[in-house]
């Protein structure tokens, strides 16, 4: 169904396929960058739907949300409007790994995002099923073909199909074609993409049962409350006070009876029936996986989480399964608090089509079709936050492409988003990919407190950062920098300092006179709040995030410098560009494996090349010499 189209007459500038967390960010970014944008979804109910856990954030993921926000994305703002519990995780550790997580009211999260989409200029929301792409004669994307509306022409397309593509749900031996949460799947688009030569594969994931709120016995479970001091996700909300009534989650455990029932029925699980071909994520195993793989564990924990304020549904985190419903009933009821649980929606596994992300450029544009961008679960990731981050970048880059602007590619030392996308497009993934702090080598630089310092200037340059956000950021940066300078300069009074140490039970500590406040802060047990005791009236009154940032900058000074040094060493490799049509087979000295990998992945920089598995340091040297040789030949 190919058709010649003139760009100028295209109905839209950009069409986004899907309105999940990736699609919403992509659509909003494109529209806000004044692109005439259409966002297509299978079902209006699927807009910003949370088909799995009712929470946003967590380790690594919370960092992503802060980064999306700092760049001018929507996720942070939307969860701040709709959360019902907020918790800063990892506070017993250092601030680099503090991670924010909020329980969301699923319905309100969807509804607020829907309102935002509807009220955004240049954005048209359309309910329809995409069947195929329109390819221009030159091989670039020219829009989509939808089931009801037929051709929708556009200059660029962003694919954010989530788990809808050829979706299949498994409960025991019951298999049916379905999208998430019982919605219709997109049956043809995945097949047509495969026909067009896109490397399509199958991944799977799972979700636990939803139970009726009143059917659970909360006396048998341990209450999990939110934090007293609520920290919002969005930098825009930093000075807001949140005085909401938080709703608790509940902790309970499986026991040997639970495990016995699961082991007795293991062969009934869809996972073991051989029906599922998709690859599931290791970090999100089903309960039958946990029980059979870790037989020495006497119990596994689970969290019972409310799906909202005005819904009856409770989400059983930690207990996803693809066992038949009767077995589910039996094992869930062995768990304290769940004895009389009514299962409203049973646990299920879902399998879907996605693309091998090695076929994408770091800009998230396809290498196979120009002006086709891809984001979210379609790229082999998993998680709302991972999806939102990619959606935002795909939206920004599709707009940049149409304007002839260079794409936004964040480096690994700039953002978790950079780590996420670089991992996907350079290393690929064999399972649904989840971000983790241990994937980030420059963790001390990529903190959630400084996401604005790292990214807001960049967001401004690409046009997504509003004046309000930008001015806030500038002011905060100024105040933090001034306070850091003041504390570096200011010396302690020795008698004050001694008294301070005594009060804090550190009478024997090093009390070298004339230390600066910055030096005192470097002591592990001393916080920025603590030193207020011996500080004077020149101490400014900072916001909570500003305080954190000051403290972190001074406390980790040495380690941060160390990481910056490493980054600088690698920088020169990142700035050396490799052309798309470089023939690696013609470069003498490259090892065979390196030639194959480089030809397949076509890295954009020598830095990216160096991270491909199978490319050795010697190969990198050969590339450097080759580039140098080429540039000299040009000059002759």
């Amino acid at each position: 169904m190919k058709k010649m189209k003139n760009d100028r007459n295209a109905e839209f500038d950009i069409v986004v396929i899907g309105a999940g967390h990736a699609g919403c960010e992509a659509g909003l970014a494109a529209a806000r960058l004044e692109m005439r944008t259409a966002v297509l979804c299978m079902d209006m109910e699927s807009v910003a739907m949370m088909p799995c856990n009712p929470s946003i954030g967590g380790t690594g993921k919370g960092h992503l949300v802060r980064e999306v926000d700092a760049l001018g994305g929507e996720m942070g703002v939307n969860i701040d409007k709709t959360f019902i519990q907020s918790k800063m995780l990892n506070t017993s550790k250092g601030p680099a790994v503090h991670s924010l997580r909020a329980q969301a009211d699923k319905h309100r999260y969807h509804f607020e995002m829907l309102k935002t989409l509807e009220s955004t200029e240049n954005l048209t929301l359309i309910e329809d099923e995409v069947i195929d792409l329109i390819a221009e004669s030159g091989g670039s994307a020219g829009g989509v073909i939808a089931r009801e509306r037929g051709e929708i022409t556009a200059k660029a397309v962003i694919v954010c199909t989530g788990t809808f593509l050829s979706g299949k749900i498994f409960i025991g031996d019951d298999v049916r074609e379905s999208g998430p949460a019982g919605m219709s799947p997109a049956k043809e688009f995945g097949k047509n993409l495969a026909k067009r030569g896109f490397p399509i594969r199958r991944f799977k994931t799972g979700t636990p049962a939803r139970m009726r709120r009143e059917s659970l016995n909360y006396d048998e479970m341990k209450e999990q409350c939110g934090d007293e001091n609520i920290v919002p996700f969005s930098f825009l909300n930093e000075d807001k006070d949140y005085d909401i009534e938080q709703i608790s989650c509940w902790l309970s455990y499986t026991n040997e009876r639970t495990h016995q029932i699961i082991m007795d029925n293991l062969e009934k699980s869809a996972m073991y029936s051989g029906n599922i071909v998709g690859v599931g994520p290791r970090y999100c195993p089903s309960i039958e996986d946990k029980v059979s793989r870790f037989r020495d564990r006497k119990r596994h924990q689970l969290f019972v989480e409310p799906e909202g304020t005005d819904t009856d549904l409770m989400y059983i985190q930690g207990m996803s399964s693809s066992l038949p419903v009767d077995v589910q009933k039996a094992f869930y009821s062995t768990i304290p608090g769940l004895e009389n649980a009514e299962i409203v929606i049973p646990a299920y596994a879902i399998e879907y089509d996605c693309i091998d992300p090695l076929s994408l450029k770091p800009s998230l544009e396809s290498k196979l079709m120009e002006n086709l961008f891809c984001a979210g679960q379609f790229n082999g990731s998993s998680g709302y936050e991972e999806a939102a981050a990619q959606g935002l970048i795909a939206g920004i880059n599709a707009a940049a492409k149409l304007r002839g602007k260079a794409p936004l590619v964040l480096r690994r030392d700039q953002a978790y988003i950079g780590v996420l996308i670089d991992d996907l497009v350079t290393k690929g993934t064999n399972e649904p990919y989840r971000i983790m702090t241990s994937r980030a080598e420059y963790r001390l630089l990529l903190r959630q407190d400084n996401a604005d310092r790292r990214l807001t200037e960049i967001g401004r340059e690409y046009g997504l950062v509003t004046d309000e956000r930008y001015n806030r950021y500038r002011l905060k940066k100024k105040r933090v920098d001034e306070e850091v300078a003041r504390l570096r300069e200011k010396k302690t009074d020795i008698s004050d300092f001694r008294a301070f140490l005594n009060r804090h039970g550190e009478a024997n500590a090093d009390e070298t006179p004339n230390q600066s406040f910055a030096e005192i802060l470097r002591r592990p047990m001393t916080s920025y709040e603590d030193i207020a005791e011996i500080d004077d009236e020149t101490r400014p009154s900072l916001g909570r995030n500003e305080k954190t940032e000051v403290e972190v900058i001074l406390k980790y000074d040495g380690y941060i410098r160390k990481q910056i040094n490493e980054v600088e060493k690698l920088q020169s490799l990142e700035s050396k560009r490799l052309s798309d049509n470089l023939d690696y087979n013609s470069i003498g000295g490259l090892r065979l494996e390196a030639r194959q990998k480089l030809s397949e992945i076509k890295p954009e920089t020598v830095g990216q090349a160096s991270r491909i598995s199978g490319v050795s340091p010697a190969d990198v040297n050969v590339l450097l010499i080759y580039l140098e040789k080429m540039s000299r030949e040009k000059n002759i």
């Binding site: 290791r282 985190q317 040297n621």
Partner: protein, 470 residues
């Protein structure tokens, strides 16, 4: 900023002279650290004479060798960067010691050069013309294939096995830390920070394993370069006779005139397949004679670099002041590494073994007469003693778990330093995720020894050993 790199640039093996080369912005600072009494205003591309010394900033410097050194300022050098060339006497031992001192200086992130790296820099900095580029690529390719070959060979060896075991223990620890950071809600508790915590205990085990491996570096050197035996004693005690007896030929001039051997004389012999390097020294005695004074200085340096000292005494005379001054040079040494030969037994018994042991407690003593059959006998017994002291019978370079490669030693030292740092941080209550980074660097360093890609190993371990997830 560019790295500063160093390597021995001359071919391995004994030569008259050898060169240690340094390139990069740290060259000047390294020169000031390693070359004793380096003049303040060095003229680039001029040769200076000086002593190369080892030792870090806070330990007393020890003289390694007298060297010529040349400083070259960017861009007027082979690589086009600041460079330092140290020309030393060509024995492997002194070149390695100088390279060791350069690397130990830790100045400007100094590291070992990769194969072909000086040449690569020369090319990248425009010091070589285009026609040479392909040749450079070939060189790098050849060298990397070669090192790959070596790495593969070592996969079979015990060294890589030990490194792998250490890495595995460290990997488990890293996985525990990663779980603790990434899964704060999960049912796993990590006894992390503070003195005596489980985590510190485990890291200490790994550290001690690394240190144990580093300790084998000395044995490794013996297996490869031989035992360095210095023969010392006052003039005319019979040092050269002993050396000749061991070598089985009269290479060193032997006369009755004290002080005939003014230079140190090095000869190599083989003891059951393991090389030994014999160093015959000038007799040590305080003297006004300038030539002999230089000889005395050389002797003291030779003793400092020795694995073992054979002290030859003239048994026909009582211990005198000259003997005492020689004893003074060696009494700090481990008595296991000293062998005393009391010579001229035929001429009388003026030195008792007790008198010797009073100065050198527990030392091994041989009484002999280094003429005719006596010399042969002595040579055989000395050889036996050396073999016993260094357990040479046990060394089999193919099988023994020893570290011999300078790059491996550097990587082990890196790992040691980073582990030490991680432990220190946890003990002083620094956050775990900062300590984890140091532990991770240690893991990477160990990985570089066996040439393993550092990829998703930690995550793989996390998911195989811990039951995690929603």
């Amino acid at each position: 900023m560019a790295d500063t790199i160093a390597a021995i640039s001359t071919a391995p093996g004994e030569g008259g002279i050898g060169i240690v080369r340094v390139s990069g912005p740290g060259s000047m600072d390294i020169m000031r650290r390693v070359m004793k009494k380096c003049p303040t205003d060095i003229e680039p591309r001029h040769a200076y004479l000086g002593d190369a010394v080892s030792g870090s900033e806070d330990s007393a410097p020890e003289v390694i060798d007298k060297c010529l050194f040349i400083y070259m300022q960017a861009p007027a050098s082979y690589t086009g960067e600041d460079m330092l060339e140290i020309q030393a006497h060509g024995s492997n031992v002194s070149l390695k010691s100088i390279l060791g001192a350069v690397l130990d200086s830790k100045i400007a992130g100094i590291r070992m050069a990769e194969p072909g790296e000086f040449t690569k820099l020369a090319f990248l900095n425009g010091k070589m013309d285009l026609s040479q580029a392909e040749a450079v690529i070939d060189i790098i390719k050849a060298k990397s294939d070669l090192s790959l070959g070596i790495a593969e060979a070592q996969h079979e060896g015990r060294l890589s096995e030990s490194v792998r075991e250490i890495r595995e223990s460290l990997l488990d620890i890293l996985a525990e830390m990663a779980v603790d950071i990434d899964y704060p809600d999960e049912d796993y508790e990590l006894d992390g920070s503070g003195e005596g915590s489980e985590l510190v205990g485990k890291l200490r085990w790994v550290l001690s394993d690394v240190e144990e491996l580093l300790d084998t570096a000395a044995i490794g050197r013996i297996a490869r370069e031989g035992v360095r035996v210095v023969i010392a004693g006052k003039p005319n005690a019979g040092k050269s006779s002993l050396m000749n007896a061991i070598l089985g030929e009269g290479r060193v001039i032997v006369t009755d005139v004290p002080g005939t051997t003014r230079d140190t004389v090095e000869e190599s012999a083989s003891l059951g397949g393991v090389p030994i390097v014999l160093v015959d020294t000038a007799g040590i005695r305080e003297t006004g004679d300038k030539v002999e004074k230089i000889g005395v200085e050389r002797t003291t340096r030779a003793i400092a670099a020795a694995d073992m000292v054979i002290l030859v005494l003239d048994g026909s005379r009582e211990l005198d002041e000259e003997d005492s001054s020689v004893l003074g040079y060696i009494e700090h040494m481990n008595s296991n590494n000293i062998l005393v030969v009391i010579n001229k037994e035929d001429l009388g018994h003026s030195i008792s073994e007790e008198a010797v042991r009073e100065k050198l407690p527990g030392v091994r003593i041989i009484r002999t007469s280094l003429i005719g059959k006596g010399a042969q006998n002595a040579s055989r017994r000395v050889s036996e003693e050396i073999g016993e002291i260094f357990e040479l019978g046990k060394i089999n370079p193919q099988e023994t778990n020893i570290v011999t490669n300078e790059r491996h030693i550097q990587m082990l030292k890196n790992a040691e330093m980073n582990l030490d740092e991680a432990i220190g941080m946890l003990q002083s209550g620094e956050p775990m995720e900062v300590a984890e980074l140091s532990a991770h660097y240690a893991y990477d360093s160990l990985g570089k020894i066996i040439g393993e890609d550092v990829g998703d190993e930690v995550l793989n371990t996390v998911f195989s050993k811990f039951c995690l997830g929603k």
